[in-house]
């Protein structure tokens, strides 16, 4: 078990029992070419082109990059700049729906007969990225660097952010797909051992999985682990520590301790790509918080957030925040014309919080030190960042901060610690250039 963290009220009962609904395809989708970590994809369609559902519209432009596909069939109405969460923008392919939903024919395959290289190339072509939020290209994760060896694969089923239930519903409703996806991951990595990490609030899933594993013959030794409900249990480094007791070295990757972690929906995407030849064109997300009806929706990538909010009966008033992702790490959006991305795990509507206008002084209560899952000293770091002492921030390892938000959450002075650390990281990176 990792040190630190917080037991949060999870608010999952708001949407936990809502069966996944297919959100109808809208008349228009906006598909950004940069919705993953790495180099933006290169557009290969132009205005006026007709595209099918699942057709490639943006090529992967490097090793750490990803392909992008049309999520509806229709006509490309143009390449435009669109808003992204965090105030960024990206070139996006805008497609007008022809209402026919004609899909590119997928290739059916049997995963057991495929080699590692074949699986990786399918995953790359299908534009699969980490769907837990980080959106790191999955093909890169599956490619083991020279000199490293994978000993096990870990399925991250924690969904430790409060409010979100999308992964829970996917595991509940599509368990065979999740498990097949995880088997494919194990196969591609060439490992025998797999772990599934679930938080204690998903015991039902754990039993379903154990039952499934006992009935399904597979060449892998899969162990389901129920972990304490402690945020950020689903943080990659924390999960690895909890599951196999190893600490990913600072600045390192999970593969440095012999494992690779995949999210629930990433596994499903891998299964769909490998077994049915379907690229990533939709994902399941939770719409929750101050909405008339909370929902778990399967949404086409590129659907504007505004459409989903309308559908769920959300009135955006002054004092309402719309957040993409969970409440701890999600990004508040400044406009609802932002499209749903591959890494969008939820749309959360919350009331604005009453927080002090100015940065209040730290009273050194030490609560942030207790909860920091990376064992940093946020109180000190926050002070140095406040005085722009980037050098000290660097010495105190601000770059190890995973921005989980525990320190800001617990701070009685409501100091914007995460914000200060993000700023410090940017400044340090600038100075290094």
């Amino acid at each position: 078990m990792f040190q630190g963290g917080i037991k949060l009220v999870d608010f999952k009962e708001l949407s936990k029992e809502k069966v996944i609904e297919d959100f109808p395809a809208q008349e228009k989708v906006i598909i950004p070419l940069s919705q993953h970590t790495g180099i933006p994809s290169k557009p290969i369609v132009k205005k006026g082109d007709t595209v099918l559902k699942g057709q490639l519209i943006g090529e992967s432009a490097g090793f750490i990059s990803s392909a992008v596909h049309a999520s509806i069939s229709g006509t490309v109405s143009g390449l435009e700049n669109c808003n992204l969460p965090g105030g960024k923008t990206s070139l996006a392919v805008v497609i007008e729906n022809d209402g026919k939903d004609t899909a590119v024919e997928g290739v059916k395959r049997d995963w057991q007969s495929l080699s590692t290289e074949e699986i990786i190339s399918i995953v790359r072509d299908a534009g699969i990225v980490g769907m837990g939020g980080a959106a790191f290209p999955s093909s890169v994760k599956l490619t083991i660097p020279a000199g490293k060896k994978a000993e096990c694969a870990i399925l991250n089923g924690c969904e430790c952010e409060p409010f979100l239930t999308a992964d829970y519903r996917v595991m509940k409703e599509n368990l065979p797909d999740v498990m097949d996806g995880f088997f494919i991951v194990c196969k591609a990595l060439g490992v025998d051992k797999g772990y599934i990490g679930l938080e204690g609030n998903k015991r039902d899933i754990a039993w379903m999985m154990r039952d499934y594993l006992s009935k399904t013959p597979s060449p892998f030794d899969i162990e389901v682990k129920i972990l304490p409900e402690r945020y950020p249990q689903g943080g990659e480094k924390q999960l690895i520590k909890s599951v196999i007791g190893r600490e990913v070295p600072s600045g390192g990757l999970p593969i440095d301790v012999g494992c690779v972690v995949f999210n629930v929906q990433t596994c499903v995407a891998i299964r769909n790509a490998v077994c049915e030849g379907k690229p990533v064109i939709d994902r399941v997300l939770t719409v929750t918080g101050l909405v008339k009806e909370t929902k778990n929706l399967r949404v086409r990538i590129g659907t504007p957030v505004s459409k989903i909010l309308d559908y769920c009966g959300v009135e955006i008033k002054d004092g309402t925040k719309v957040i993409l992702g969970g409440p701890m790490m999600g990004i508040q959006i400044h406009t609802t014309d932002i499209p749903v991305l591959k890494g969008t795990s939820g749309i959360l509507v919350l009331p604005e919080e009453v927080l002090p206008e100015n940065i209040q002084p730290c009273i050194r209560c030490g609560k942030c030190v207790e909860v920091c899952p990376m064992q940093l000293v946020p109180a000190e770091l926050g002070r140095y960042a406040e005085y722009k002492n980037w050098e000290r921030c660097q010495q105190l390892s601000v770059s190890d901060c995973i921005e989980c938000g525990c320190c800001s959450y617990i701070c009685p002075a409501k100091r914007p610690l995460v914000e200060l650390f993000k700023w410090a990281k940017v400044e340090i990176r600038k100075a290094q250039k």
């Binding site: 190893r246 600072s250 505004s306 004092g319 919080e353 009273i363 609560k367 701070c411 009685p412 002075a413």
Partner: protein, 323 residues
């Protein structure tokens, strides 16, 4: 939203960085919790020492607020929200003053605690010394007579009013007979206003521990250190815990966030250090009591303790990352 934004986009509330939820704990709530925790002992002090105690308490709190307002006027500092921290300092200062102290001296103490010890160092969160204890120390060197004259509790006042504290009786052979341990536990003895009733202080301490405002590290390591050292030298450890200001100091003064270490390990070192110095002053020093000075002394070591007790960061074990 930029001008290029889609017309479907709706302008929304002020943008905030994650996390978007926060715990309900605030600085103000912490300060009020401390005040509530001190309340039983405050009421007890009025019961034991009468209206003198009440007057000193009120003067101290008032003068702390005056110190705050004056510092804002002098330094043109933004007035911070009313968070009760001055009241905590004032009440704690009153607790470590003798009930018979002239009120103007108490007033000077309260003013200096905030103006000199806290605001001159940068205000809340930046002071090096515990304001109440530093102010008490200033008063002790400025008015040695008034600061060391104690009165008996009301129920024991027969003919003479001034008497000695239990520690004074033991140390300096001052006149008077020692109160029973039970009297010392419930607070029926001479001493500073808020230090006498161990029972009422412990009620407050348990409240603070339950509210998680303080942790056990400092008070327990402090008290255990004193208990061990006194029993090693053949004293009654219980007497030394009940006498003087140890319980008040350990639970309410040494635990002051700003002037104590930030990590658990550091807190234990701090508590042990306070215990050793308290013991040394009580046995080797010229004062009968050493709690105030030991905490002030250890306050100076806090940055150093913090520096050497940084937690072991995640991912720095060794190259392989294995345990």
């Amino acid at each position: 939203m930029g001008e290029g934004g889609d017309k479907e986009g709706t302008k929304m509330t002020e943008m905030r960085c994650s996390p978007h939820i926060h715990s309900s704990e605030t600085t103000t709530r912490i300060m009020w919790s401390v005040l509530i925790a001190l309340l039983p002992a405050a009421i007890g002090s009025i019961y034991f020492f009468g209206s003198d105690a009440l007057k000193v308490i009120l003067v101290c709190i008032l003068s702390c607020y005056i110190g705050e307002v004056v510092s804002h006027l002098v330094f043109h500092r933004r007035l911070k929200p009313f968070d009760g921290s001055e009241a905590v300092t004032g009440l704690l200062l009153a607790f470590v003053l003798p009930p018979s102290i002239p009120l103007w001296m108490a007033g000077i103490g309260g003013f200096l605690a905030i103006f000199l010890v806290k605001e001159l160092f940068g205000g809340i969160g930046f002071n090096i010394f515990n304001p109440a204890l530093a102010a008490r120390s200033i008063l002790t060197v400025s008015f040695p007579l008034e600061m060391t004259q104690f009165v008996a509790p009301l129920s024991y006042r027969v003919d003479t009013i001034t008497t000695a504290t239990p520690l004074g009786i033991v140390k300096e052979g001052l006149g008077g007979s020692l109160p029973s341990l039970w009297d010392m536990f419930i607070g029926n003895r001479a001493g500073c206003i808020g230090e006498t009733s161990i029972l009422l202080l412990l009620i407050g301490a348990i409240f603070l521990l339950w509210r998680r405002v303080i942790t056990w590290h400092i008070p327990i390591s402090y008290i255990i250190t004193v208990a061990i050292l006194t029993s090693l030298t053949g004293q009654n450890p219980l007497f030394h815990i009940l006498a003087g200001g140890l319980v008040l100091g350990a639970f309410f003064m040494a635990t002051d966030y700003v002037t104590s270490p930030i990590t658990s390990k550091g807190k234990i070192i701090f508590g042990i250090g306070c215990g050793i110095i308290t013991f040394l002053i009580r046995f080797k020093g010229s004062y009968p009591e050493g709690v105030a000075y030991s905490i002030i002394f250890m306050n100076m070591f806090v940055p150093l303790i913090d520096k050497y007790t940084l937690p072991k960061k995640f991912g720095y074990i060794n190259k392989k990352g294995k345990k």
